[in-house]
Point group: C2
Chain length 256, copies 2
Amino acid sequence: MRNIKGILAYDGGAYNGWQRQGNTRNTIQEKVEQMFCKLLEEQIEIHGAGRTDAGVHAKGQVFHFHTESSMPVSDMCQKANAYLPRDMAVLELQEVNERFHSRLNARWKWYRYIIDNGAVRDVFSRKYAYQILEELNLEKIQKAAQNLCGTHDYRSFCSLKRMKKSTVRTVYTIEAVREDGKIYLDFYGDGFLYNMVRILAGTLIETGLGKREPEEMAAVLEGKKRELAGFTAPAQGLCLMEVGYGTERDYNIIYR
Amino acid sequence: MRNIKGILAYDGGAYNGWQRQGNTRNTIQEKVEQMFCKLLEEQIEIHGAGRTDAGVHAKGQVFHFHTESSMPVSDMCQKANAYLPRDMAVLELQEVNERFHSRLNARWKWYRYIIDNGAVRDVFSRKYAYQILEELNLEKIQKAAQNLCGTHDYRSFCSLKRMKKSTVRTVYTIEAVREDGKIYLDFYGDGFLYNMVRILAGTLIETGLGKREPEEMAAVLEGKKRELAGFTAPAQGLCLMEVGYGTERDYNIIYR
């Protein structure tokens, strides 16, 4: 039995998110599973590192699966891309240790939220960015972002009302940069709650619009109530960029 | 009567090209005209600098129209973008000399053809690039591109069988660069015949695939027969980047 790790890119616009569950049809997981079942002629179960919401994109989703097949991974990768729809692509496949688990072993994730904040909308990024015509105050966003980092109970930034599991997470950094009319919000953390990145993005956007002050963030965190945080920013602006399996230290080396 | 010059960006994927004519519905020109008629409450006729084909994009299409309206151009621009579909945007409007004509006064045009030539397709550019998995030979493309520049009769690179007007054009430069798995072909010329950029791109692609040699290009030009040149590269890879109204010298200052 081989254990295969893969990296997947997808345009999430046409799908009901990553996870195949109950009656949810047209998920990315389902498409990838069906493709590998067909390709390897056996029952394949795909496990993903992160459950991206409907409409969210990925440039570096990680998954793994077990197979009895002896097909070389390079052949498998090429054939997988020939079978997959045009809005998905397997970037890499490699054979890994039998104990590797894409979700349980993930040490950090990098999500990017893109805001189209130019004077005129960029028609070519309309499906990959959230357009806001009013100019956002980047300095305020950066200050608020600082105040949202650290190890906290992020319950205020979670859409699920009842979370039995811990809602404590560590957000290492949130970087906000402006380039060519776009604002890029990069979130690096050890894990994110349901809708957490989109609610963080929405709260930062409200701060950039002057509806909130950076100093409020501590109270939003401490209040532990969803209604204290900002709106859930639209899915199409969000992209899962990378999932890391090294230590946090590795992350610092790579991204600083 | 005021004469207004505008710059327009559009994702051509959903349209039957620029030109409104006879039974052709759903053209970009038609959409822009309808919008200005509604906005200015008068009959408006839009004239474009270049007639892009069905599926071709633009980041810098230029147009002009006459109006009796006294609405300031900044208001007009903002309202135009509120009325236009999401896959189009007016980047700029300005009042110009009454004699200015977007097509007749155009001195040069810049078209870009994008080839996705990475080992794995880029899912996010699938609608704005032509994907070729086999690695193209960039040096051969560059040599062939050199041989296709100059002032020539480009009849071999025109899809229209019978051209009554002159088929002589000047192509100033064709630049080919590779960046992040993409190959960008930039064509600068005083004007291009019907399908000319796409046939030039197709011929360069065939050269990059080793099906043609750069040295053949002179004979292709001299033969003046469509069948001597390469295939018409797909529309989705092409974008009209800019239209210039200065002299060729200006172009050299800007782009060199």
